[in-house]
């Protein structure tokens, strides 16, 4: 199977290259894989994830995501790539002025789908994350766990080929966490999406063991 992510000699840094977070790392993620990325706090997990959706550029080496070289990508291509990704943040990053239903279909709004499709898709997604009742509420009226379920529904709304999640269940209750892990596992197994999840606590709800990468001393290594 082809690689969805391919990094070779990848170096990521802040402050104009002065502060190197990851140096000369090599790893690949195949299509349909579910990968956990772990590592100590401050090791560069979020930084790596940001580089995968093009928010920061490699200072050295190459990074290819979805067949596109992120070192040399135009604005339009990056927008296109992002519109096929589903990104989940630890702090949800919902649009607080929009209703839950509208937040969920943000990717469909960006893709220019009709409001009919948006509405039916919103209902379906909110059913999946068990938030049908909250459709017309606003994010700040929801609990943290509920908000993150909205975030996950949003990430899945356009059947992304790649799902990137940064501590999606960071400090959520058991129920919300299990709904979220189920949805991501489902997207991977049934829809063939590739999933990369940053977390420092691997949930033990999975029957099959998943691949794990660890970031340590600026390198990225396989955990066996």
């Amino acid at each position: 199977m082809s690689n969805v992510i391919s990094a070779s000699n990848l170096t990521l840094a802040y402050d104009n290259g002065k502060k190197e977070v990851i140096k000369n790392a090599n790893f690949q993620v195949k299509k349909g894989e579910f990968v956990f990325i772990t590592g100590p706090s401050g090791s560069g997990k979020s930084t790596l994830l940001k580089s995968l959706y093009g928010a920061i550029k490699p200072t050295d080496g190459s990074l290819i995501v979805g067949g596109l070289d992120l070192n040399h990508i135009s604005k339009r291509k990056l927008q296109e790539l992002r519109s096929h990704m589903g990104i989940i943040f630890q702090d949800y990053k919902l649009i607080n002025e929009w209703t839950v239903a509208k937040n969920v279909v943000l990717p469909l709004i960006i893709a220019g789908y009709s409001t009919d499709i948006q509405q039916t898709q919103a209902q379906k997604l909110l059913r999946h994350v068990k938030l049908t009742e909250q459709a017309n509420r606003y994010p700040l009226e929801l609990s943290g766990g509920e908000q993150q379920r909205v975030g996950v529904a949003r990430a899945l709304s356009k059947n992304p080929f790649l799902i990137l999640a940064d501590e999606p269940t960071g400090n959520l209750d058991e129920y919300s966490s299990s709904v979220i892990w189920d949805l991501m596992e489902n997207a991977c197994v049934q829809l063939g999406a590739t999933v990369v999840v940053v977390t420092h606590r691997i949930p033990h709800i999975f029957n099959t063991p998943h691949r794990r990468l660890i970031i340590e001393n600026r390198g990225i290594y396989e955990v066996h």
């Binding site: 940001k50 927008q79 519109s83 990704m85 990053k93 649009i95 960006i110």
Partner: protein, 263 residues
């Protein structure tokens, strides 16, 4: 949200347009009313006057028949014709521009340089006092309009900061999900354009009110007389144009200063 400063700017611009038109008109009037008296030993043609100084306009000989008749009557022994012959020629001349006292004096000297011109009366006093008042009003007005514009620009910058704060999150989130610039800032453009339209309506309404209602009731001669120049269709087009340009520039600045999510 841009309405208040936009209205201030539009009113300032409209005020200066109207002021310019009114002062232009007033200048014309001062010019028309102001004349110089020239006394000459011989007749002077219009072309001769223009060649002395190009700013001389509209020279007119003063009919002296009635004066001659009056003199002849008083003296008794001379005929009107004889009196007429001995009297010098009188002319009134106007100026094509509104000039300062010094410039008027300069023209007077030029005229007197010709030996046949005996006397030039410029009525200097009344001229210079009117002129000074006129300049004073102009300066006061421009200081006022500049202050209003300055305050408005400051308000717009403040408003842009507020917008930036209010829309930063949303625009950054949309960007991460691949929204184009237009999609991200579409709401801002829509709000900005609505603001521009509302402020134009308010400003235009105010001037239309002054023109069609208040001007007549004010009892101010100048306003009643000059109603036509108070507010025109071109002004309306100019107002909406200026308002749109301002909001579009503001939205573009806000859009491009909100960059990627950084944590």
């Amino acid at each position: 949200m841009f309405i208040l400063p936009l209205v201030a700017i539009l009113l300032g611009i409209e005020f200066s347009l109207v002021f310019n038109r009114v002062t232009h008109d007033y200048e014309e009037k001062l010019k028309a009313n102001y004349s110089i008296l020239v006394v000459s030993k011989r007749a002077i043609s219009n072309e001769e006057f223009f060649s002395i100084d190009p700013q001389i306009a509209d020279p007119k000989p003063i009919k002296k028949g009635s004066i001659a008749k009056e003199i002849a009557k008083n003296i008794g022994s001379v005929s009107t014709k004889e009196v007429l012959k001995s009297l010098p020629y009188f002319y009134t001349i106007h100026l094509s521009n509104y000039l300062s006292s010094e410039e008027v004096e300069h023209i007077r000297k030029k005229l007197l340089a010709y030996s046949y011109i005996k006397k030039v009366e410029t009525f200097g006093e009344s001229h210079s006092s009117k002129y000074n008042l006129f300049i004073f009003l102009k300066v006061i007005f421009w200081v006022f309009v500049s202050l209003i514009s300055l305050v408005s620009i400051f308000l717009i910058i403040k408003q842009m900061e507020v917008w930036q704060m209010a829309h930063k999150e949303r625009m950054q989130i949309m960007e991460v999900f691949g929204a184009s610039v237009m999609l991200r800032s579409g709401v801002l453009f829509r709000m900005g354009i609505i603001d521009a339209i509302i402020s134009t309506i308010i400003s235009a309404g105010l001037f239309a009110g002054i023109k069609y209602k208040w001007a007549d009731e004010s009892g101010i001669d100048l306003l009643i007389e000059k109603k036509d120049i108070l507010f025109t269709t071109q002004d309306l087009i100019m107002m909406i144009g200026v308002a749109l340009v301002i909001v579009i520039i503001a939205v573009i600045i806000v859009t491009f200063s909100n960059r990627e999510i950084r944590e």
